[in-house]
Symmetry: none
Subunit: 125 residues, 4 copies
């Protein structure tokens, strides 16, 4: 993690936490780092981590057990993936194709770098 980014720190941390869960490094059965632990590790204020955890709780990515700590929600990976898919299909994808035409993108350039994806696309038809 580094915080040079313009995005709010607590959201960067949220991404980080989601990523850990998505990759299976933190599983529903086990407690994720406490507010204080993670704050110390990342060298930020505990309030900032608290805010991250509140944010993720509300998105049903993690759940709190009173007096014990936070745990990944049972269906956390599905939730995260669904959330990102929605984002991707609604925003990124239309933007992508809009840019393709608007910017007169040199398709050979893409082909060079990402050709295999396009071929898979066609293969999948």
């Amino acid at each position: 993690m580094d915080f040079r980014d313009k995005q709010a720190i607590y959201l960067q941390i949220a991404d980080h936490v989601s990523e850990q869960i998505l990759l299976g490094r933190w599983t529903p059965g086990e407690r994720i780092p406490s507010v204080r632990e993670l704050a110390a590790e990342l060298e930020v204020n505990p309030n900032t981590v608290m805010r991250t955890y509140e944010f993720l709780s509300q998105q049903n990515v993690i759940v709190n057990k009173r007096g014990i700590g936070y745990f990944p929600a049972d269906d956390a990976t599905d939730t995260i993936r669904a959330f990102r898919r929605e984002q991707f299909l609604q925003n990124d994808l239309p933007q992508f194709f809009k840019n393709l035409t608007l910017l007169n993108i040199d398709l050979a350039e893409i082909e060079t770098r990402y050709g295999q994806y396009i071929h898979e696309t066609n293969a999948a038809q």
Copy 2:
């Protein structure tokens, strides 16, 4: 303009203006709307439009003729396109393909909506 969008309004307007120029609706020979006109049209504070125009002037997308108004720069479309291409190739594109695999996107779904683009892609090779 969407006041609830997380992107700054003056940047939303900058995108809008760039788009008009890119699409050839506003050409180098003709004055673009004055700060007040555009502010009235978009129902925003003139200061905000002013900020947009300053921003675009600085990027050499528009130029100011004192006492007359703002005009698209002669090479505005090239400038805009170059800027956006850079952005697209460096950030959007890698992110796009990263998501494609990470989210296990159903390619048939994309095909349904954007198939013609992909086919054009292949035809252009």
Copy 3:
């Protein structure tokens, strides 16, 4: 026990215990489950159950016999009922009727679900 509930767990347990006594499942003559037994059954920390028992002792709902265990107080049901009645009449009931008007509740809806109670109400007059 619902760890996600906003009410403290030891109070949730206190309600549970009170309920058992109120319903006559645990009577003054017989020992109620030991701290460890109940903790195991409810899958909570024994300290938490301890706190419940201390709380209920203080309210004269249960009594401790040293070396033997906890027993419902002789007048436990009266104590509990008095306590809850107070709570009910002072807080719940006014709130209930306030909401009934404020929220424009469809009384037919209530009738459908709880009609028998209302009819009993009238019969009891």
Copy 4:
């Protein structure tokens, strides 16, 4: 407002704000007090009011216009009422009838205080 209550201050403020909107004192067209204004008026820290406004935004009760302030959402009253109704029907109502039987409530007592409601209930059938 007084904050002797055990409920978190920011939630008490949220109730207060909702109430104002519900009563039509603050309408969708007009800005509600700024974070700083309300904080000064209620003599709490601006962060606390900020937290209230975040909470209410998220519940779609108020919306933010960048750089201008917060406004009641267009359908704020519906949202608030729906939320409270849900709460009432799911929690308060079942609890109410459960208590009626469990506590052996003296119905004449209720009749005395709230009789007119019950009669309306019957009249509505």
